[in-house]
Symmetry: C2
Subunit: 125 residues, 2 copies
DNA sequence: ACTACATTTGCAATACTGTTGCATTAATAA
DNA sequence: TTATTAATGCAACAGTATTGCAAATGTAGT
């Protein structure tokens, strides 16, 4: 595995995602960053951060991929937590304490999980 | 609500999805249909079938939207079932009997659910 | 602090994905 | 068979994403 470098783009994008309460899409990140770097770099930084396991992907029912960083993962990691997508304010948030229970037939090998629930969030109802 | 018509495109697309074991993406449907109709029509037919509740959407972690029809929904509908995405053969299948249990904080109103698990399916392992 | 070097970035080119307006076609009901 | 209205096909457009390559930059070693 190759070394990874702390570039300005990487630092800023990670800061943005870490300080955000909600999961951010590529376009949201792009407009926040303005001209710090171009959109190609954003794609590549997000891929790198995901590959390194520092952030995780969330996919909404509309197919928009967003990125988030758990805030309490330092204590205990909840890799399978649910994400909530509000139909009104269009924010996607991690519900890090909600971990669904399910049983797959034995022969399935699970690597990754994507649980998204859409509806109305507390602030909009 | 307006009336819906049984056009050739609609019939063929629904047949395709119904007879398929796996969830199909727009591009998969397009290449199966060849020149039956153009891609714009496919988009619109899929939207209509989804709106009418005849088929349902599945979103993979890569953001690709696929469409599927439950085969045992006539007996009992399982709207919240899990979908499995195989990383090797890239098929997405409905696990209609696997319905996960989860508890959201009271203030969240749930309308829709998207549960996808990726890994290796039985035929690939 | 300087240098070497591999990683990362920026840009160009390209392809895929998805939406909308409008004229035409075709499915349905009478 | 005809009238009506949904559905289609086409054009135009916009957003999303990938890749190759040269230039820039971060990092380790000196």
């Amino acid at each position: 595995m190759k070394n990874t470098r702390n570039t300005r783009a990487r630092t800023e994008i990670l800061n943005l995602i870490t300080s955000s309460e909600e999961a951010l899409s590529h376009s949201q990140i792009q407009s926040s960053l303005k001209d710090l770097c171009d959109r190609f770099t954003i794609y590549r930084v997000l891929d790198r951060l995901t590959y390194e396991g520092i952030i995780h992907k969330v996919v909404n029912i509309d197919g928009v991929i967003r990125y988030a960083k758990c805030h309490n993962c330092d204590e205990k990691h909840h890799p399978d937590h649910i994400h909530f997508s509000c139909e009104q304010c269009h924010t996607v948030t991690c519900l890090e304490d909600v971990e669904p229970q399910f049983k797959l037939p034995k022969k399935y090998k699970v690597h990754e999980v994507n649980f998204t629930v859409s509806g109305i969030c507390p602030s909009c109802s």
